[in-house]
């Protein structure tokens, strides 16, 4: 019964992620197909890697005939930011079963991180529910990428503003983080730095760089920011 309950509650938290993954997953499937991958290969990548932006990059590198080592190294760089996210999540899972944590780690994405973290902070959340959020998101990602691979080009683009689902979700999740002046100021510093760095540095390392610097500034000045 409790198990069932965790599944229902977890699923109800996961739907904005799933909705947001549909247009991106379809687009990925279409692109991957154009790059010469079969729907099976597309599905395999969504299962093995499960990381949207690095999958897009990998597919364009594959199409350009780039070596596997270069693709793997790029994937590592692009997904390194999850190290920070998993560290933040770890604080809430003290003493939890390590097998379950390993399974949970597989599904840590920008989106599941943000949704789970907001709920964990509120209290009434646990590892089982977090796991359900991750797996639901993974299932939606897998399904939409494979469907995109089969015939995504027939689905109208930009229908109902669905391209905006993830941005809107991040806006609200950021608002959830505003629990005091120091969080707002840290977020503002991170946002400004991210814009500057994204213009100066190729790739997406600006995310880690801006977050680390902003959180460090927030920590140093925390006495003045509370």
């Amino acid at each position: 019964m409790r198990q069932n309950n965790d599944i229902t509650i977890g699923a109800s938290a996961a739907w904005p992620i799933c909705l947001g993954y549909i247009p991106i997953g379809l687009a990925f499937g279409v692109l991957a197909r154009k790059a010469g991958l079969t729907p099976l290969q597309i599905g395999m990548m969504s299962v093995f890697v499960f990381a949207g932006s690095s999958q897009f990059i990998a597919v364009s590198m594959l199409a350009d005939g780039v070596s596997a080592i270069a693709i793997i190294l790029t994937t590592f760089m692009v997904n390194l930011r999850h190290l920070l996210m998993s560290s933040s999540l770890a604080v809430f899972f003290k003493g939890e079963d390590r097998k379950k944590l390993s399974l949970f780690a597989y599904g840590v994405t920008d989106e599941s991180f943000a949704v789970n973290l907001a709920r964990l902070r509120d209290g009434e959340w646990n590892l089982n529910r977090s796991l359900v959020v991750n797996q639901m998101a993974n299932a939606a990602w897998l399904a939409s990428t494979v469907i995109g691979g089969f015939g995504g080009q027939f689905i109208p683009e930009k229908a109902f503003g669905i391209d905006y689902a993830l941005i809107a979700m991040f806006i609200c999740l950021l608002v959830f983080q505003f629990r005091g002046r120091r969080y707002v100021i840290t977020a503002m510093i991170a946002g400004i730095l991210a814009v500057i760095f994204s213009l100066l540095i190729p790739g997406n390392s600006y995310i880690i760089l801006a977050s680390v610097i902003a959180a460090t500034i927030g920590l140093i000045f925390r006495k003045y920011l509370t």
């Binding site: 999850h82 190290l83 597989y106 991170a190």
Partner: protein, 110 residues
């Protein structure tokens, strides 16, 4: 297909390890207080670092641009502040973005 499997294994491994390492090793030990305070600020920082460039940076090579994403974000943000509803914000944000794309918001001069 064999090459592809090797590529998948490699990509999968380098994606999984950074996700797994802190959860596996940090969750079973005392984390220094300073690190906890730092990690406490990371979500606000990282969400903002993901979001803001998506609103104001576009194109290849990247430049700052006035995007419909930014226009839709202002009322979406206010709605989120007021309601604190994740689902509601997603639906309202999508509707606003859709209307802006269709040019149905002449008020904004689009």
């Amino acid at each position: 297909m064999k090459d592809y499997l090797i590529l998948m294994a490699g990509m999968g491994l380098v994606t999984f390890l950074p996700r797994w390492f802190p959860l596996f090793f940090l969750s079973n030990r005392e984390i220094p207080k300073l690190l906890i305070e730092w990690l406490d600020l990371i979500p606000a920082a990282i969400l903002s670092a993901l979001l803001i460039p998506a609103l104001v940076v576009g194109g290849e090579p990247k430049v700052m641009a006035f995007k419909p994403e930014l226009l839709a974000s202002i009322p979406t943000f206010l709605f989120a502040l007021k309601t604190k509803s994740l689902g509601g914000t997603v639906v309202v944000g999508m509707a606003l973005y859709w209307l802006i794309g269709k040019g149905h918001l002449p008020f904004f001069g689009l």
